[in-house]
Amino acid sequence: MQLTLEFGGGLELLCDSVKIHSVNVDLPAEEKKLTMKHLLAWVRSNLIKERPEMFMKGDTVRPGVLVLVNDCDWELSGQLETTLEDKDVVVFISTLHGG
């Protein structure tokens, strides 16, 4: 499944400072759909190069990270249970505090 993944607010530093990743994610074996839960595990093992604790806590993202599926807060689409479709754009952004 073709997906565009974007990292911002400093999270890109965890994946070689690359902000936009065009990726192909296969459906997990014996599954009919790809959920955010699967995608997070995939991102953690395929894109995150350092300090994974800065990206995830338990099986979800760490506090202070917003997840947007097609420009919409994943809280509105079922968080970890959000089902992804081909060509979806998923954004991971760390909240900023500076000024």
């Binding site: 400093g10 800065m54 202070g64 947007l68 919409c72 954004v91 900023l96 000024g99």
Partner: protein, 460 residues
Amino acid sequence: MDSNGGVDELLTELQSLKDSKLDIEARISVLEAQLQQIQSKQHPNQKGSSDCSNGGSESGHDLTPDMIYRYSRQLLLPSFGVQGQSNLLKSSILVIGAGGLGSPALLYLAACGVGRLGMVDHDVVELNNLHRQIIHGEAYIGRSKVESAAAACRSINSTIEIVEHKEALRTSNALEIVSKYDIVIDATDNAPSRYMISDCCVLLGKPLVSGAALGLEGQLAVYNYNGGPCYRCLFPTPPPTTACQRCSDSGVLGVVPGVIGCLQALEAIKVASLVGEPLSGRMLLFDALSARIRIVKIRGRSSLCEACGDNATVTHQKFQHFDYEKFTQSPLSAAPLKLKLLTADSRISSKEYDEVVKKGEAHILIDVRPSHHYKIVSLPKSTNIPLANLEDRLPEISSELKRKGIHDAPDAGIYVVCRRGNDSQRAVQLLHKMGFTSAKDIVGGLESWAHDVDQRFPTY
């Protein structure tokens, strides 16, 4: 005394004249503003709708001729017009933080005619603020940011009321200060302030225009507006301290907070004038490097929110005793951390290190800052091995010691330096663990070197 041709005396007199000039200018703008206030109270019909000379009774608004002329370009906007301007003139806005975000926000809010404009900050202006905090000028270095910002706002618009709060916002004064305003702009630079300000706005029912900027990115949202979410709805749990980067560590391109600060002024103007559709329930994400702005839909008010939910636990009473620094594990001011990880015998002061150099003692100096820091400035004969790579590059230290004929003995001279003396302690801990037991760090890093040893050494 006259060894430098009287330059010192000239400089002293110049400085004292400049200081007096600033004081006089500030006093003039205060007096002008007071005069304006008194005159408008004594002659209310000059701007009142009963004054026939400016046709006030027929136009049905209370803008004076001066106001009509000053704000004419806004009055000409069909979607803003007289009604929008009148609403704005009756509104009050509080800007918390007169820094990178607050600077442009304050300038625009003063210029556009917000009736009462308040500003809170306890900091003083520093030279390394000026690239982004454009409301302040060189003449105000070392002086209160609020004084500086207020003078700049008064020089643009002496007809509005400007209120100076020269103090840090704390749980003890926040409710009192914020309650005097209709709308709040969060232009602060740290996580605990953001939670504190949001909770305070929820308690008092004030819309909150929240902006943030770091590096080359910015974020903007309007919270607690028209049934929309508050900051805690979105971020119920504070992020780990390590995820809270500061401009003083990570850097920021001046214009980036400028863009976000301008947008904060715009959102506050929209809320105050009841014009347009404020950025509530949405968030704006700005990426300067790729020139992209993305507006995303965020969750609505959460019924489980501690601050604004159905069973909210944040009350006036609790707020005043809530420890936001403990909650977020980070300080309310942007002051840098001062870690103490090592015992005294594993550390030396910058002055002591200066002695080591002067005596010509054989040693190596490892600078563990990131390489882009090292490029700004470094001590002579130091070796740059960033903390992140230290473990992988230990063999370089061994060979460097060998090259200088220093034996890997308990008293081998291995010194570690960084910018402020935090990372150097982490590095020494690692070195001790890896067998370099003689490693010591320089207390206070290059900042203390510049302060105590070489005043001409650049700081950043």
